[in-house]
């Protein structure tokens, strides 16, 4: 039979626009969250993290927002560039140290 792969959510943005990638996490006990970027043919690359005692954290061109009430995490990328095209994964840590639970990923496509 025909194999079916994961159908990743896709976000397509124009170069220079801001991007917002969303993630719903599963465990209300999770106390640490990470966003990873995975470019084609490469391993996931750490972008930014946030602990559960915060609701916002900023990095260079990226901001992570955490809403624990609705178990929602978002990654905002300012002035999106073609080099930002990748699959973005959120990950949660439901235990102190150890396993991360990864989301399925969102594919970001930046149009020049």
């Amino acid at each position: 039979g025909e194999s079916v792969g994961l159908h990743l959510p896709t976000l397509s943005v124009q170069e220079g626009d801001n991007s917002i990638i969303n993630c719903a996490y599963s465990n209300s006990a999770s106390d640490y969250f990470i966003w990873y970027k995975q470019e084609s043919g490469k391993g996931p690359q750490f972008i930014i993290d946030i602990r559960s005692n915060m609701d916002k954290r900023q990095g260079q061109r990226v901001t992570v927002l955490l809403n624990k009430t609705v178990k929602h995490l978002s990654l905002q990328i300012a002035a999106t560039q073609p080099g930002d095209s990748a699959v973005y994964f959120c990950a949660e840590n439901p235990h102190q140290g150890g396993k991360l639970i990864f989301g399925q990923g969102t594919e970001l496509s930046v149009k020049p």
């Binding site: 792969g5 640490y32 990470i34 990873y36 391993g43 996931p44 750490f46 840590n93 102190q96 991360l100």
Partner: protein, 115 residues
């Protein structure tokens, strides 16, 4: 700059052959993770070690997969015998726990194709 290294980067083998993948974690990191990534399943945790001791290998098929850390600078993942369904990208990641935070840093992966 410090990074996780993995060898080989690509491996093509025939069904039934043994496959060994190696990982060198970032110096000083005491936790090592093995993941498998496929289009069907996404990113799956196979096993992880802390201070060279296996903490969890529940994600790993026990009959054919084995993971070890002979020393603090080397982690290995073996498949024997390999099967076509093992074709995937295998990632190693390392980390250093700091309170609740443990960022995992990934290697470039080993792309395995079993014919």
């Amino acid at each position: 700059d410090a990074r996780v290294t993995q060898t080989p980067r690509h491996k093509v083998t025939e069904m039934g052959q043994e496959v060994t993948m190696r990982c060198q974690p970032i110096l000083g990191h005491n936790t090592v993770f093995w993941y498998r990534q496929t289009m069907m399943q996404g990113l799956e945790l196979l096993a992880y070690f802390r201070n060279r001791a296996p903490l969890d290998d529940s994600g790993m098929p026990k009959d054919r997969f084995s993971a070890e850390m002979p020393d603090a600078t080397l982690a290995t993942l073996k498949i024997q015998p390999s099967e076509p369904r093992d074709s995937a990208v295998y990632f190693c990641a390392s980390g250093l726990p700091s309170g609740v935070a443990e960022t995992q840093y990934f290697g470039p992966g080993t792309r395995l194709l079993v014919l």
